[in-house]
């Protein structure tokens, strides 16, 4: 459709807007890659800064070559980290929503837990790494617990905020249409809070990556954090960069899935 909207701006088709957004977004990425390449060529030192093609080659090679020689491929390291994230984050979301739901329904629970969250909020989860290694050793348990420590408070805060924001009249409307209290809780209160809870889950996902990579740097023999650290010690800079890019790509994929879910359940965002 040609013409202009009521504010006099040229009207664009939604697909055109989308295309232009993607175009500019890709432009930014290309710009950063170009700067990287320029810097690498000027320095001419692959340890300090490998070129973009060299890094891409390393990335491609290590998708199939184990690193270290007796260990996993880049692909497998990524899967190990991903599995840790999946379990830790998934459990954290469930626990956080459950506790948040209880806090929003019973003020006693809220009074009990609120100060605990406030006290723990300024603490970076990474501060707990030594403690968890002492308590749980260097197996999977400390990694799991560390992700929980990062995810659960975020999910609690997101859930409580989202449930508190549900208008009282919306629940009243459902009750006066004949819904039982339980039906109303499930189909209106929780349903109405779902977009806020998903936003919380997206934020918590970022925190989970921070935690898992940090703990893998210190106490692990697998995972992307371990790969990055080990490659760094051996001055394999292009592999370090490959590991970083992998985390970034996985992060984008996971966040896109959550955004897709958000769009699916919230018609105002379509």
């Amino acid at each position: 459709m040609a013409g202009s909207d009521e504010l006099g701006r040229p009207r664009q088709r939604p697909s055109a807007v989308r295309l232009s957004r993607i175009g500019w977004g890709l432009g930014g990425i290309v710009l950063v890659l170009a700067a990287w390449e320029l810097f690498a060529r000027l320095k001419g030192d692959p340890v300090l800064m490998p070129t973009v093609p060299a890094t891409a080659r390393t990335f491609w090679d290590y998708l199939r070559t184990p690193y270290p020689a007796a260990g996993h491929t880049l692909w497998q390291h990524a899967l190990v980290s991903l599995a840790r994230i999946g379990v830790g984050w998934g459990a954290g979301v469930v626990i956080g929503v459950a506790i948040g739901g209880l806090m929003a329904s019973a003020s006693v629970v809220r009074y009990l837990i609120d100060p605990l969250i406030e006290l723990s909020r300024p603490l970076p989860p990474l501060a707990f790494i030594p403690l968890f290694i002492i308590w749980f050793g260097i197996g999977e348990t400390p990694k799991f617990v560390l992700i929980l420590v990062g995810v659960v408070p975020v999910m609690i805060i997101a859930t409580v905020t989202a449930l508190d924001a549900v208008p009282k009249e919306l629940v009243q409307a459902s009750r006066s249409l004949g819904a039982s209290p339980l039906w109303s809780l499930l189909t209106v209160r929780l349903r109405s809070a779902l977009p806020g809870i998903i936003t919380g889950a997206r934020l918590a996902m970022g925190g989970a990556w921070t935690s898992i990579v940090a703990v893998e740097l210190i106490a692990s023999t697998s995972g992307l954090g371990y790969l990055i650290n080990n490659a760094g010690v051996n001055l394999q800079t292009s592999l370090v960069l490959s590991g970083i890019v992998s985390i970034s790509l996985l992060g984008i994929v996971l966040d896109s899935l959550l955004r897709l879910l958000h769009r699916g359940i919230d018609p105002t965002r379509r």
Binding site: R175, S176, G178, R191, S192, P267
Partner: protein
């Protein structure tokens, strides 16, 4: 002044759709130890079957509290609230509530909003589904039934809210300043819509408003309230011919009655 009596009981001999006897309701003070605010103190009201009653009063006179008691969202501290012979003990689909804003469920289409009640009561049948479509056509939303609430105009949302309530065949409609937030033109259209609807079905309506003209245009009887605690200041029967139209507002009889009601309202407010 004529008609300034403290009782709101209508002529005897007809069945009462609503009977409120000696109702008291107080709300706890905001701070500990602060005196409780008495919203209603020994309030009496009767509404005839098929009557359109307007509750008129300034904000804080207890008219919304009264409506919440009728809807079953709140329970009286003392006294009786009886609808169609049954004591009100909680919200239910026999009393349709229309709020100040339509309070549609934003994640459901218009049709699914209308079907929410039957679905919640596990009474959804093909017959009900057909009736919902019919009802949406009656309220002028036949072509918008698969749209989401955010895609509708203000007036359309209100009509959808009407359909959502009417599918349950309520014996009583409770409206809390339903058109207060609309622009003047939409508001007029909605008043006309409501008049047509009521003249067709003759459902008993308790309509809360602070707009004198709206009360005189719509009601069979106007109960002027003053607070707090809420009391009946005066009751005016509206002996204007039906079916009514907005043109009625230009007549002398209308202006005369409007003035009387306004004076009663102002007297109570001083």
């Amino acid at each position: 002044m004529r008609q300034v009596t403290a009782t709101a009981a209508p002529d005897t001999g007809t069945t009462a759709a609503v009977r409120i006897v000696g109702v008291e309701k107080a709300f706890a003070g905001r701070r500990r130890g602060a005196a409780a605010r008495r919203a209603l103190d020994g309030f009496d009201l009767e509404v005839r079957e098929g009557e359109f009653l307007c509750l008129l009063g300034p904000s804080g006179c207890g008219k919304s509290t009264l409506l919440n008691l009728l809807a079953g969202f709140e329970t009286p501290d003392r006294g009786e609230v009886v609808v169609a012979g049954d004591r009100v003990s909680g919200p239910g689909p026999d009393r349709g509530v229309l709020f100040q804003t339509p309070m549609l469920f934003p994640w459901l289409t218009v049709l699914d909003n209308v079907l929410y009640g039957p679905r919640a009561r596990h009474e959804l049948t093909t017959e009900i589904r057909e009736r919902a479509v019919e009802l949406l056509e009656t309220v002028g939303l036949g072509s918008a039934m698969h749209a989401y609430p955010h895609e509708l105009s203000g007036g359309m949302r209100h009509r959808a809210a009407f359909a959502r309530v009417l599918i349950n065949k309520p014996r009583l409609l409770l409206m809390d300043e339903p058109f207060g937030a609309l622009d003047a033109i939409t508001r007029l259209a909605m008043q006309r819509f409501l008049l047509e609807l009521w003249e067709r079905d003759r459902t008993t309506i308790v309509f809360v408003t602070h707009d004198v003209e709206e009360a005189v245009l719509l009601g069979d009887r106007i109960c002027v309230m003053s607070g707090s605690p809420g009391q009946t200041r005066a009751v005016f029967p509206v002996d204007l011919p039906r079916p009514r139209d907005v043109a009625l507002t230009d007549t002398l009889a209308f202006a005369h009655l409007k003035r009387q009601v306004r004076e009663a309202l102002e007297e109570g407010h001083r």
